[in-house]
């Protein structure tokens, strides 16, 4: 398994676009600078600022979309038949891809955290405090770990497809529904459930009802297990 994971990282050499996608982590911090530029700095709390830079659209749309694209790119050049006759296990292959997505997601959120602090402090919008920074990093790690779990269905679709059109379409639809269902029922879609878990202790966020952590994890778990089973069936299918 370790060899498989190591190989997955070796395959990323010279994949410039994968690394360029990390720049998307800078998007919301830059937007936040413009958004808050007219506001009075004393009225902006660090958490309020981070809600814009890291805890909103990055979590709902940007990161799931970027990870969906990453999944598609990771699978697109694979000649699976050549791998099966080595042999490598189908599930090992699936999880090694997941590990790359997880690692990338954590890196993405750490960049988001660093750029949020830099954007806030250098523009003078927020004051540098250890508490707010540790909270930001913990929350970013939380997002970085939970979102890859929530997008397991996209990974399952990409490993079962040869092309890239369907996985990209699925990524867009999946991300869009995750965002829409957030306002209707948080425990249907894994991305909505991730938001529910994440929002449970954010200062200033008022939800209609208290977050049911059990239901949220159950939702992510069911989607994750179903996706893994689907991937296993799809990869094991002989033509």
């Amino acid at each position: 398994m370790l060899n498989l994971i190591q190989s997955e990282f070796l395959k990323l050499r010279r994949r410039k676009f994968i690394w360029l996608m990390l720049f998307a982590a800078l998007f919301m911090p830059l937007v936040a600078i413009f958004y808050f530029s007219g506001a009075n700095a004393t009225e902006i709390t660090p958490i309020h600022f981070y809600k814009w830079t890291a805890f909103s659209y990055t979590l709902w749309i940007i990161l799931p979309f970027v990870l969906g694209m990453l999944c598609t790119m990771l699978i697109y050049n694979e000649n699976q038949e050549q791998l099966w006759i080595i042999p490598i296990s189908r599930m090992g292959y699936f999880f090694s891809k997941f590990v790359v997505v997880l690692f990338y997601s954590i890196c993405f959120m750490l960049i988001t955290a660093v750029s949020s602090i830099l954007a806030g402090v250098t523009s003078g919008l927020i004051v540098f405090t250890t508490d707010s920074i540790s909270f930001l990093f913990i929350k970013c790690l939380e997002i970085g770990i939970l979102i890859p779990l929530a997008i397991l269905p996209i990974l399952a679709v990409t490993v079962s497809q040869k092309g890239y059109i369907l996985p990209v379409c699925v990524t867009i639809v999946f991300t869009f529904f995750g965002f829409i269902l957030l306002m209707i029922n948080m425990y249907i879609h894994p991305l909505s459930s991730t938001t529910a878990i994440f929002m449970r202790n954010i200062e200033g966020v008022v939800l209609d009802e208290p977050v049911n952590m059990g239901k949220a994890f159950l939702c992510i778990g069911i989607w994750g297990i179903a996706s893994t089973i689907w991937a296993k069936i799809a990869l094991g299918k002989e033509k």
Binding site: Q6, L10, R13, R14, N77, E81, Q82, I86, P87, E238
Partner: protein, 307 residues
């Protein structure tokens, strides 16, 4: 039976209504090169995929090293090197980097495995060129290098010379023969090019429309090629009469008013020539002929022949 490395029994593959492979009984013997010869779409790749367990078998059985692949993948696959269809590598990596990944996944313990494999196929070690910039021939060579990387006992090569220039084809042929003769490897190779197979294989299987029409050693196939005496004369009627009376010829066929084929090749051609001349029959041509392999394959495949 111990020296049979691959054996298929009544191997059949049906896609929907179409039978792609029909009750194929294949026998690949240890230490020999088996050439699977057939036109494009004859079913060669499907057979190879079924042997490797990459395609499901509709009916019949496949044994590799006297075991079925299913359930024994971990023991059988490390003993096989294969190229199926076009070799797929990572376009952003160099040839060396690609092979290093496969060596890592295979757990190849030999430190110089990648360098040696690249050397065998004549590709440079640690060059800067990425796979996407490779020519078709280089891609094919890299595929072969990957197949031999872990020093397997059995090589399954699906049209490995596709895209190679004539010198490249000769080199590949030469090292496949070396692998077989010097290192005792068993090779199953497919091709639609008759000359390639006839120069390389010890045993040949002719497949046409999914049916294995013939399976034999190349030497035996050569023996089977019919020999005949081609006789071209001014008057076949007079010539045949003479041949029947004087030489007791019974096996012959009259092709046209000037050509007769005599299937008894032990006849004394000089005597025939002399007798015909004495009877005032002009002899235009008298020669011993031999059907080529291509003629034989045309006959076997019902006249369609192989490229």
């Amino acid at each position: 039976m111990d020296n049979i490395v691959i054996e298929t029994r009544q191997l059949t593959k049906i896609y929907g209504e179409q039978t792609v492979v029909n009750e194929v009984n294949l026998h690949v013997r240890k230490g020999r090169i088996y050439g699977l010869l057939g036109r494009n779409g004859a079913g060669k790749t499907t057979i190879m995929k079924m042997i490797l367990g990459l395609s499901s078998v509709t009916s019949g059985e496949v044994d590799v090293f006297s075991q079925t692949i299913k359930g024994n993948e971990k023991y059988i696959y490390p003993r096989i090197g294969a190229i199926i269809e076009t070799p797929g590598f990572y376009p952003n990596l160099t040839g060396t980097e690609n092979l290093e990944i496969f060596a890592k996944l295979r757990g190849t313990s030999r430190p110089n495995a990648v360098k040696e494999a690249l050397g065998v196929v004549g590709l440079p070690y640690r060059d800067k060129k990425v796979f996407s910039k490779y020519s078709l021939g280089m891609k094919q060579r890299l595929g072969i290098a990957n197949a031999i990387l872990h020093d397997p006992e059995l090589l399954i090569l699906d049209e490995p010379t596709n895209g190679l220039d004539p010198i490249g084809i000769a080199e590949v042929r030469s090292f496949i023969q070396d692998l077989c003769v010097k290192r005792g490897k068993t090779v199953l190779i497919s091709s639609h090019i008759l000359s390639e197979i006839s120069l390389l294989a010890d045993d040949i299987g002719i497949i046409h429309n999914g049916v294995l029409l013939e399976e034999n050693s190349l030497a035996e196939l050569h023996k089977r090629n019919s020999k005949y005496i081609l006789l071209q004369v001014s008057d076949t009627a007079k010539a045949v009469l003479l041949l029947e009376r004087r030489f007791h010829v019974k096996e012959y066929s009259v092709q046209d008013t000037h050509t007769v084929l005599l299937y008894d090749t032990d006849l004394d051609m000089a005597e025939i020539n002399k007798a015909l001349m004495l009877e005032n029959i002009s002899v235009i041509s008298l020669q011993l002929c031999n059907d080529t392999l291509e003629d034989y394959f045309k006959k076997v495949t019902g006249g369609e022949g192989i490229a």
